[in-house]
């Protein structure tokens, strides 16, 4: 007799534990592969999963086996023209099937081990060890949204919040503590009295009985005087106000589009913005992006225009900062939005404007934002803007960070540098 069982409904992810163990074990190698991939892959699919390749050598499981060399004889099939005693040129090692022996036998290949990560796994590896600075601290600023949270039991509070069980428990223990000795004595006295009453009554006995009755009455009085429920017993549930972190973020992309920024520089900036966007998206429920481009004057634009249209002319960086400030006040109230700024530029600025930028940044923008990053792309030499921003970094280091990007490969490391988890 055969039994036929339908197992299709049984779980199919039996191997997911093992898969996860594999990923954990080779975290380092995978992270390297991911960071290589992050800079190489095209901008549009930065968001999908990734095929990762790590060297087979690193993950092989060694066993005792024969090495190359020695005197071997191997039997093959499909002889066509060989006769005993023929001599054949030795094939290139590892080459093809012609006579190099069983594939499994001839040493382990140094192949690559290739596999896919899902989008989530990919992003986990990509942003592993990074964090958004000031996430907690800044949240507390918003005071509009609160939620009440249980915070244990306290001894005073609003009658509507009495915790009956806890109150009764205290009451019981208090009554036991206060009345314990009296109750014990009462029990004894009653027993004595009973014994006395059973015996014959003479005068001496009578006196004792009276004495005992007196005592019993006193004890009973004392016990009844212990209150059943005292104010001291009352316990109240305690709730505390807990600020709800606002779950939305807005990311301002500021870019210089003056004549000196070439298309390839913009590409680099775009990749940087992509990474930042993906990263923010993981931390917040909702992430919006505002694109601000500027040369001598700033303008809010859509993505297409931001990255691909060209303008010529000089550069006034403060115009963009001012526009950002304006947009924040109009559309993104600070208590509801987490504000991130990311500025990319080639460092060109009108010299007199740089101190203005610094002042505006430190006084207006930084107090409102969570984090502001500045990347300078392929600078020939640093100009006044870099120097002024350096000063900002000195004074507001925990909210402001700056780096320079020289080539495509720098983007991911720079990004990591900017958001590296910092020990406080």
């Amino acid at each position: 007799m055969s039994y036929i069982v339908d197992r299709r409904l049984n779980g199919k992810d039996k191997s997911s534990v093992n898969r996860k163990r594999f990923l954990d074990r080779y975290k380092k190698q995978i992270r390297e592969a991911v960071s290589d991939a992050a800079t190489e892959r095209s901008i549009t699919d930065l968001d999908s999963g990734e095929t990762v390749t790590i060297p087979q050598r690193n993950i092989s499981e060694p066993v005792f086996q024969h090495g190359e060399g020695g005197d071997r004889s191997i039997i093959h099939t499909g002889n066509k023209e060989f006769v005993t005693g023929d001599e054949v040129q030795r094939p290139e090692s590892g080459g093809g099937g012609s006579g190099s022996g069983q594939a499994s036998d001839s040493g382990e290949g140094d192949d690559e081990f290739m596999f896919s990560l899902s989008r989530d796994e990919y992003l986990d590896f990509l942003f592993d060890g990074l964090e958004l600075p000031n996430l907690v601290k800044q949240h507390l600023k918003g005071t509009d949204n609160f939620r009440y949270k249980h915070a244990g039991v306290v001894s005073d509070g609003n009658p509507s919040k009495i915790n009956i069980i806890r109150s009764m428990r205290t009451s019981l223990s208090r009554r036991m503590a206060l009345g314990g000795s009296a109750r014990k004595r009462l029990k004894e006295a009653k027993l004595e009295l009973q014994l006395l009453l059973q015996e014959d009554a003479d005068a001496e006995q009578q006196a004792k009985v009276e004495l005992l009755e007196e005592e019993i009455k006193k004890l009973m009085d004392r016990l009844t005087r212990i209150p059943y429920l005292d104010t001291y017993d009352l316990r109240y549930n305690h709730h505390v106000k807990d600020p709800i972190p606002s779950a939305q973020a807005v990311m301002f992309c500021l870019m210089d589009v003056s004549g000196s920024m070439t298309q390839s520089m913009k590409e680099m900036a775009k990749r940087f913005y992509m990474l930042l966007y993906l990263f923010l998206e993981r931390s917040y429920e909702k992430t919006e992006i505002v694109f601000i481009r500027h040369h001598t004057s700033a303008k809010e634009v859509d993505e297409q225009e931001f990255f691909y249209s060209r303008e010529a002319g000089g550069t006034v960086v403060s115009s963009a900062l001012k526009l950002m400030d304006q947009i924040i006040t109009e559309r993104y109230p600070v208590d509801q939005w987490n504000i991130y700024g990311a500025q990319a530029s080639d460092g060109d600025n009108w010299n007199d404007d740089s101190p203005v930028c610094k002042k505006f940044l430190t006084e207006k923008l930084l107090p409102m934002s969570q984090y502001f990053t500045y990347v300078e792309i392929m600078p020939r030499t640093h100009q006044s803007l870099w120097d002024e921003y350096k000063l900002v970094e000195g004074t507001c280091g925990d909210q402001f960070a700056m780096q320079e990007i020289k080539s495509l490969e720098d983007i991911y490391p720079v990004f990591r540098e900017l958001f590296q988890r910092r020990e406080l």
């Binding site: 299709r8 039996k14 596999f115």
Partner: protein, 517 residues
């Protein structure tokens, strides 16, 4: 000859009812051919579940380990990219015999798999002497459950990475964890659990006795006595030796070594009977389904589809074909069983000369006898016929690293038959294809180091991964481990873990000079 044409089904869709019907028919025919099987448990699974089963060495339950994850990832990847199709079936040597059928298969394929796995492999598991002596089909599932739970418990108690490291080391030595001659006694889960507790205490006490540092009998030991060797005879079961004698292992670690050893032992017969097992199963799916066709139970379309995948399975590319990767065990095994039947039914003069005992005998008896009493090595040595060697055009390549050119040895001609047969048999002998490594000594009274010996066969050295394996061995033994690679009694190479610094004679020279001054 052909009976009334009345196929069980037309079309490629399968249903549970149809599977049931086919199974009944196939069983009827199988009984006709005296195939004795365990009861079958046919399980229908999806392709992802098949990949799961694949990556856990075909076992329905297994402990967790990253290497299975790696296996799964690569199977998954290859399957998705279309590099590789999944096997149609996986069958487990258990009682009842569990066979997996993939839901994606057509009705024909399901019938093929039932014939192949549920009657072919199944009867092999039940009949072959290696499986009979070495594995116990009724308790394997229980044992796997026990080992999974035990290892999970150890992970909880001692940490995942600790257990993982231990398993890594055990896996590295897994092929050296089998007894080749002693027969293990299978037992049930409850017994296993009970015995595990007892064993824990007993083993530890034994190890302690071995490593006692207080000299027991100073008086009886005279100077000049040669130190007795321990072990007294070389040990080939490395894992067993370590489980029993490693000085610093805790009892749970010994138990895990034991689990890996047991599982290796369970798979040992499968590794020794690849050609026979697959050949037998392929022979029977071919014979059973053809029988059904002759009875008119299956349609022409069914037969065409079946034959197409059958020929795919037994395809043997020749050595210069790009797809060539050695000899296809399905092809060789199938050809050999067919050949034996031919020798019985229609012997030529040559067959009568080579196989006087079976030529003209009852083919079914002979086939059953061959299945029951041989393993690949001996099966080939006994039954590979000159005719089959000619058909498969076997030839030998002599690869001597001392010569510049490869030489062609014996080929499929009168002079070469015997040599080809022996050579091919040797190729399936595990003790030839795996290096011969044995434990020869433990320095009981010195640094407790463990010494192993590798005997080179035909000057073949050890591979590059040897040092890595020694590290694993060292992890288990915890004291120094030495491996000597010998050829004709002479040590050709030393391996040490931890590595010994090469002694530089120049340094000694300086030292002596200094002293001399």
């Amino acid at each position: 000859m052909k009976k009334k044409y009345q196929p069980i089904s037309e079309g490629s869709e399968w249903t549970f009812d149809l599977i049931q019907k086919y199974d009944e028919e196939i069983r009827r025919v199988a009984e006709h051919y005296r195939l004795d099987t365990y009861p079958n448990q046919i399980e229908i699974i999806g392709s992802e579940q098949m990949m799961d089963a694949y990556s856990s060495i075909g076992m329905p339950i297994g402990y967790s380990h990253w290497s299975y994850g790696k296996q799964f990832i690569s199977v998954n990847q290859n399957y998705k990219r279309g590099v590789m199709g999944l096997a149609y079936e996986i069958v487990i040597n258990s009682d009842p015999c569990i066979a997996y059928l993939m839901e994606e298969n057509s009705m024909t394929m399901q019938a093929l798999v039932i014939a192949h796995a549920c009657y072919g492999h199944n009867s092999f598991f039940k009949g072959n002497y290696l499986f009979k002596t070495w594995t116990d089909a009724s308790s394997i599932i229980d044992y796997l459950v026990f080992s999974k739970n035990y290892i999970a418990e150890c992970e909880e108690r001692h940490g995942v990475s600790e257990v993982e490291n231990l398993l890594d080391s055990c896996h590295a030595l897994m092929n050296y964890g089998v007894d080749r001659y002693k027969r293990p006694y299978p037992i049930s889960v409850e017994l296993e659990k009970k015995r595990q507790k007892d064993r824990e205490e007993y083993q530890q006490s034994q190890v302690n006795a071995l490593w006692r540092t207080i000299p027991a009998d100073k008086h009886t030991r005279r100077s000049g006595d040669t130190k007795p060797l321990f072990p007294s005879e070389p040990q080939e079961n490395l894992l067993y030796f370590i489980e029993k004698n490693a000085p610093r292992l805790e009892s749970w670690q010994r138990e895990i070594i034991r689990i890996v050893r047991k599982i290796a032992q369970y798979f040992y017969p499968q590794r020794q009977t690849q050609v026979m097992n697959e050949g037998w199963a392929t022979f029977w799916h071919y014979t059973l389904l053809n029988h059904l066709y002759d009875e008119g139970k299956v349609s022409d379309g069914f037969m065409l589809e079946f034959l197409q995948s059958h020929t795919g399975v037994i395809f043997q590319p020749s050595f210069d074909h790009p797809a060539y990767s050695g000899i296809n065990p399905y092809a060789l095994g199938f050809a050999m069983f067919c050949d034996i039947r031919r020798i019985c039914e229609d012997p030529t003069d040559e067959d009568k000369e080579w196989f006087p005992d079976i030529a003209g005998s009852d083919w079914l008896d002979t086939l059953h006898f061959a299945m029951q009493n041989f393993k690949d090595e001996s099966f080939i040595l006994q039954y590979l016929s000159p005719r089959l060697m000619r058909e498969m055009k076997f030839f030998t390549v002599l690869d001597d690293d001392k010569k510049e050119m490869l030489e062609i040895g014996a080929i499929h001609d009168e002079a070469g038959y015997q040599e080809i047969r022996e050579g091919l048999s040797r190729q399936y002998n595990l003790s030839v294809s795996e290096p011969d490594i044995q434990i020869v000594n433990v320095d009981l009274h010195g640094d407790r180091s463990l010494t192993l010996q590798h005997k080179r066969q035909k000057r073949r050295p050890l591979g590059d991964s040897t040092e890595e394996v020694l590290k694993h061995l060292h992890r288990l033994w915890t004291f120094p481990v030495h491996l000597e690679s010998l050829y004709e009694g002479k040590v050709e190479k030393h391996y040490h873990c931890p590595p010994k610094p090469e002694v530089d004679p120049a340094m000694f020279g300086v030292g002596f000079n200094f002293l001399g001054v």
